[in-house]
Symmetry: C3
Amino acid sequence: MKLPRNYTLKEISLIINAEINGNADFIISGLNEIHKVEPGDLTFVDHPKYYEKALNSDASAVIINKEMAETKGKMLIYSDNPFRDFNKLTACFSTFQPGINMISPSASIGRNTTIQPGTFIGQHVSIGDNCIIHSNVSIYDHVSIGNNVIIHANTVIGSDALYFKRSPEGYEKLLSCGKVIIEDDVEVGANCAIDRGVSGDTVVGRGTKMDNLIHIAHDTVIGKNCLFAAQVGIGGCVTIEDNVILWGQVGVQKNVTIGSGAIVLGQSGVTKSLEGNKTYFGTPAYEAQKKLKELVYMKQLPELFSNGHG
Amino acid sequence: MKLPRNYTLKEISLIINAEINGNADFIISGLNEIHKVEPGDLTFVDHPKYYEKALNSDASAVIINKEMAETKGKMLIYSDNPFRDFNKLTACFSTFQPGINMISPSASIGRNTTIQPGTFIGQHVSIGDNCIIHSNVSIYDHVSIGNNVIIHANTVIGSDALYFKRSPEGYEKLLSCGKVIIEDDVEVGANCAIDRGVSGDTVVGRGTKMDNLIHIAHDTVIGKNCLFAAQVGIGGCVTIEDNVILWGQVGVQKNVTIGSGAIVLGQSGVTKSLEGNKTYFGTPAYEAQKKLKELVYMKQLPELFSNGHG
Amino acid sequence: MKLPRNYTLKEISLIINAEINGNADFIISGLNEIHKVEPGDLTFVDHPKYYEKALNSDASAVIINKEMAETKGKMLIYSDNPFRDFNKLTACFSTFQPGINMISPSASIGRNTTIQPGTFIGQHVSIGDNCIIHSNVSIYDHVSIGNNVIIHANTVIGSDALYFKRSPEGYEKLLSCGKVIIEDDVEVGANCAIDRGVSGDTVVGRGTKMDNLIHIAHDTVIGKNCLFAAQVGIGGCVTIEDNVILWGQVGVQKNVTIGSGAIVLGQSGVTKSLEGNKTYFGTPAYEAQKKLKELVYMKQLPELFSNGHG
């Protein structure tokens, strides 16, 4: 990319807080990857295999992760992570605004918050400062999101509860009147779905991190600094206290409580409330050590039966 | 929001079918939440904690869920659910049309059907009356959707089957030529995926309700008034009869039939056809009572072996 | 649809490489389904039940899957799959461009590649020739996609790893600096999520096919011609060699290797590395035959205990 105006090497280095080796006043006019550089460009290299190529290229300056005296006429910017810093510069100078956002006029969006294209934000939504809402996210009405929150692409927040009253004619829908509240410093992965509360609110506590394809049902309250691996599913009206870790594909039945600091191993199914600060496994889930011991014995069943005990 | 024109309190109350206490001819000029009201506005309050605040605010009228004589000069509209009725008014007066839909010209959309922004509707799709298709949904070609259907955000309907013929060179794709047919009164959650049929059609029967992150494979036929919890996955060419309940994360193998009225408990894996009107559990799934009894005995294995039977 | 210009029956038949029965010079002016045809139109029929209806309709020509002499004045195009060929013609003549794509200027898109509406493509993404990227897909920066790749709707490629360092104050995010590389001939289902690498790259090998709602974590390398059924979840830094089959809802823990040609049965949880060319089942997964045998014995536990062994 061409830079929007000329920058000195010094100015560039300040943006990424890096040391330079070369003429601080040299004018940088573009950022390009190694295979399409031209004089005036800054490029980057982060693998010894490509050092030679970068130093012999047409670029005028190189972000590099090795300090070297011999520069073959190139100006150098030293970085422990050239890729990251090159990205940072690209993002900084980019005026790229493809596509459109779909943000309702009653939504409020904080300072320094980025909404990527294709994202829909409903009525009366509030989003705090320094958030990143990735592309094609759908946020229903009346969702409240704090500061420093990251929502990955195609996630849905605020969808209706699966909450029906059975009648002789079929299912009658009970309306969801609650909200979703996502506190500060939360990260939600891609393609997740978090339902709004039916009567109360669905809450994700401060600092909690979730991976992809996770389902959180209505009125569930999740504490602070929890960690959920991919494809976890949590039923309605569940309470998950602080610092709980749920590994991949764990399912949690509605109306239970998981105590602070509990760890539930992958694919377990939680069917009743669990005390904190213990590790659980299995469906139904109970103490992992006990469950794993039983599984060891289970492997001995064929021998047991063949010994005439069957 | 400012109302598009002035309305009397009486007119407003008729929209939500509610009783009023105060001057029926008073002019309401705006709808706003309690923290940003001004004179002429209608607001709402639904929790005793905030009654005082609402009655002392600058709003001229309040939707409230308690009948009271003393109104501190406010006009009241009584409602058993002020939040719902305030929303209803907001929706009624909203002329908000953010973003765009992406609807192919050969699609037909019924009366009183809402398509939210970002939703893509392919060729030869038909959608009935009174439907809500939420944001960022993708509907492939040749899908047919009945009346009163709700599709939640980011769900995909009509994607290709995972259907390949193995050859020495790899997998050869067999084209999907069938459709997806969604009958009246169905609700599909957020981030689901329903594949089109390969030869026949994939069908979701009238009144069936599905939660989030559900997968329905090609040519599967689902009966009426079924209920599927989140993260259920159903293989290809499955028949699910009426009134079947599948709890969270249940998996159903291809080509099986689940009889009418069957209930399959959470995380079970259905590997063969199941009779109706029974409850199943486990992977492979069989009668829940039997499975749960075995799990009780399994817990006694350590004791059994320590008694010298191992 | 009206055709953009008039075509002869002969020209039409050449597009789908089919034999005709009738006047090769007849002018076809439109393509329509049987219930809305008019003279000049070409329609199709693929079920004997509707042959009569098609031959008695107002259409001038019919694509049909039965050779017949008697045509009731209709011109016929013979096809072994009229639906497919009608679709092919529809696609061929369609100039339909609803909605918009959201493609960053630094992305490179190959020849004959289709990007459906609502899809977001980030910076420095490259996509090869003959690909189909369906609607509402989100592709983050620095993703590389080969030739002949199909990505189904609402899938996310290149999202950040769930990769955090625990500190007393909570979780500190480690930045993802790697890419996602998707090789030639891969198909990815709807609503999947493939994370970018943290330090290396996440790779999906040539010819691998994935169903819907699949999660692939950071730095995981998947071989060639693998087949993953729906809702599979694979942790970070996993190596899956060539020709591996994972059935529905299988979970794979981080850092393990699955050998070439291994098959893992549905809902299994892979907790350690598995040798190739064997079939596995259970959580934790081990050889399926062994596991299934144990399950048979488990069913006999109630009898065993009732025989006085408990």
